[in-house]
Amino acid sequence: MDLSLSTRTVPGAGGDRTVVEVGGEIDVYTAPKLREQLVELVNDGSYHLVVDMEGVDFLDSTGLGVLVGGLKRVRAHEGSLRLVCNQERILKIFRITGLTKVFPIHTSVDEAVNAVD
């Protein structure tokens, strides 16, 4: 299965948030596509991102690397990158790599969009 990406802007409690809905598999082949999307958003001035991973079937360390890269980019603009994920198989990867301490992980897009630091 390929990677699907779609973005939309949602008004949140702390201002507009850009929601990136990701579906399919994020691996060594598809991760560059996600990286391009995140880079493009930041270059276009979207610094508060919510990556909705509910439709993700597979995530590997390449995908984690892209998310960390995205986080670095938005932080350079004092932005934020929040994740939405309820899938245990995906959460496990964040846990074993210690990245649950790095990314705020939410249970719904609504919660992530309205979260304020």
Partner: protein
């Protein structure tokens, strides 16, 4: 001792194929259904790492994946052909793999190491070896033999 061997050229798009094959063979071998996700992820990590090593070092030979169904364990070996230092104790000429390019400087450093960290976190029985002819990641999982016999329908 049933064995399935897969060789693929170092293209990222083939890693998914390797994952699917590994998961299918593991399921047939009787690896617990709950562990199949781990098998899929671990073999994907090992193959992604091998693809990165081959591409980064201009190695054109294929990557080798050997899936072996033993009596009590199912094992996977992923082998690359990037020569290593050979001797971690020193004295040897450092191998190419130590100098593999880090890729996009904006990207996360040590993505390769993150892959290994994921494998070590997931798999209890894992062995990483590096020799003059390349490196091998060997992983194994127990086979739930009792369930396997009853699992004819799958």
């Amino acid at each position: 001792m049933a064995t399935v061997e897969l060789r693929f050229s170092a293209q990222p798009e083939h890693v998914r194929t390797a994952r699917l094959v590994a998961a299918a063979v593991a399921r047939r071998a009787g690896v617990d259904e709950a562990v199949l996700d781990e098998v899929r992820l671990a073999v994907g990590e090992a193959c992604s790492r091998a693809v990165g090593l081959h591409r980064g070092n201009g190695v054109v030979t294929p990557i080798r994946v050997v899936l072996t169904e033993g009596e009590k364990t199912f094992s996977i070996e992923v082998g690359d052909e990037v020569p290593g230092a050979g001797a971690e104790v020193g004295g040897g000429v450092p191998g190419a793999r130590a100098e593999a390019p880090a890729g996009d400087p904006d990207d996360v450093d040590g993505e390769d190491e993150m892959g290994l960290a994921v494998i070590r976190g997931l798999v209890d029985d894992v062995e990483v070896t590096v020799g003059e002819d390349g490196g091998t990641i060997r992983m194994s999982w127990p086979i739930a033999s009792v369930e396997a016999d009853a699992d004819i329908l799958s």
